[in-house]
Symmetry: C2
Subunit: 236 residues, 2 copies
């Protein structure tokens, strides 16, 4: 039997031990949904960077840079953070440097893990299949918003945990995981209505960037599982 745990925000991550576990990083609106989209449409590598200084450094070296802060594209970047930008025409065969407010920070925290995986509804089924085949303990890391808990990442964590536990191969004694499952059970019958309560939905709406919410809540659009290899993400 493998265990499953959930860190409900990056500020809670240091209370968990990622060593020898598969860490699944989640930032549904929008970083991990964007990364899944990039690989689905043919990107070869995604280099996640936490700071804008690093991102700028890559830009100066000629890389294509995707960067946002507080939802909005930063001035020197080639693209902001909507999954709509990353069509096959744009990303096929490409290497992209990527920096966001929350999601890429979360990826940077996960050192020591057996494997760091990028999770979203878009690759939910493939991710579950992979984790069941890995036969290892799982730690879900919700990116949240600047260290705070957020509903959309928690609902995904609950969905993932519920599926893994339903297999009979995973169990938990983790209050956060049970709480996430309760929240997923509340959300599942009507995800758009549920997300009316999510602060991030309203942040995106204010910026006119909320046209991707339905897309980011689509199950199983891709079989790609982005995974950290050194400092880069590649697709499994």
């Amino acid at each position: 039997m493998n265990t499953i745990e959930t860190a409900l925000s990056t500020a809670l991550f240091d209370q968990y031990t990622p060593d020898n576990k598969a860490v699944v990083v989640v930032d549904i609106l929008r970083a991990t949904s964007v990364i899944c989209t990039m690989f689905h449409n043919g990107a070869q590598r995604v280099i996640p960077v936490a700071s804008l200084d690093e991102a700028r450094h890559y830009k100066e070296q000629g890389y294509t840079v995707v960067a946002e802060r507080n939802g909005q594209k930063v001035d020197f970047a080639d693209f902001g953070n909507s999954p709509r930008y990353f069509t096959p025409e744009v990303v096929n065969g490409q290497t992209l440097v990527y920096s966001t407010t929350n999601g890429t920070q979360a990826i940077g925290l996960s050192g020591g893990a057996k494997q760091v995986l990028v999770g979203a509804f878009l690759n939910h089924g493939a991710l579950c299949k992979h984790l069941l085949a890995m036969q290892t303990d799982v730690l879900i890391l919700c990116a949240g918003w600047k260290g705070k808990f957020c509903l959309e990442d928690t609902m995904f964590a609950g969905s993932l945990a519920k599926t893994l536990m339903a297999s009979g191969q995973f169990s938990t004694t983790c209050d956060s995981t049970y709480g996430a499952i309760d929240i997923w059970n509340t959300a599942q019958p009507n995800i758009p209505a549920f997300l009316e309560h999510a602060a991030q939905r309203h942040r995106l709406k204010k910026l006119g960037l909320d046209d991707v919410i339905e897309y980011c809540c689509t199950f199983d659009l891709t079989n790609k599982i982005p995974a950290l290899a050194g400092n880069e993400l590649v697709a499994l």
Copy 2:
């Protein structure tokens, strides 16, 4: 309209601004349930201290000291942390010094608040009435377990928030508060079954100290609202 927010554990508290708010500290199993019991049964003052060194110092000065770590009474203390100990015969008119693993740490964090209140199911109704009369913004601080999220405090936060919001006088844009309400809605039909998932329930069971769970989930046993006045708790 007043706002309501929820810090789901002490590790998340520094992301909120307690200034000019009523902070409600919650540690259902068992610190805030114990404190409500003490005042219900006539205690005059409770001095919450975070460290065992402080508690020992008070003991040397002749105070009655209640202290536990990881659920168990510490050697020099007069009492451990079960509400059953604090009968009127024991506490009426008394001053008690109190130190616990999580709850008293949480009380110590809440400086800057307009008022720091101790909340539990035992004083739920009185607390709601007081907060509605105060007409101030509310921040609920769940003590959790060593900085981690816990189900029982979150379920109480949801219950409190739901009641306050149902009055029409409170609203929220806080994801944690909505998540707590979802968890309370899941818990409410069968609290004992819900708490089967709570890690703290199993910690207490292991120590033979789980005979108080039903008591700690009793609504409205008392009208006392413990509140911080300087370094002491007194009953409103």
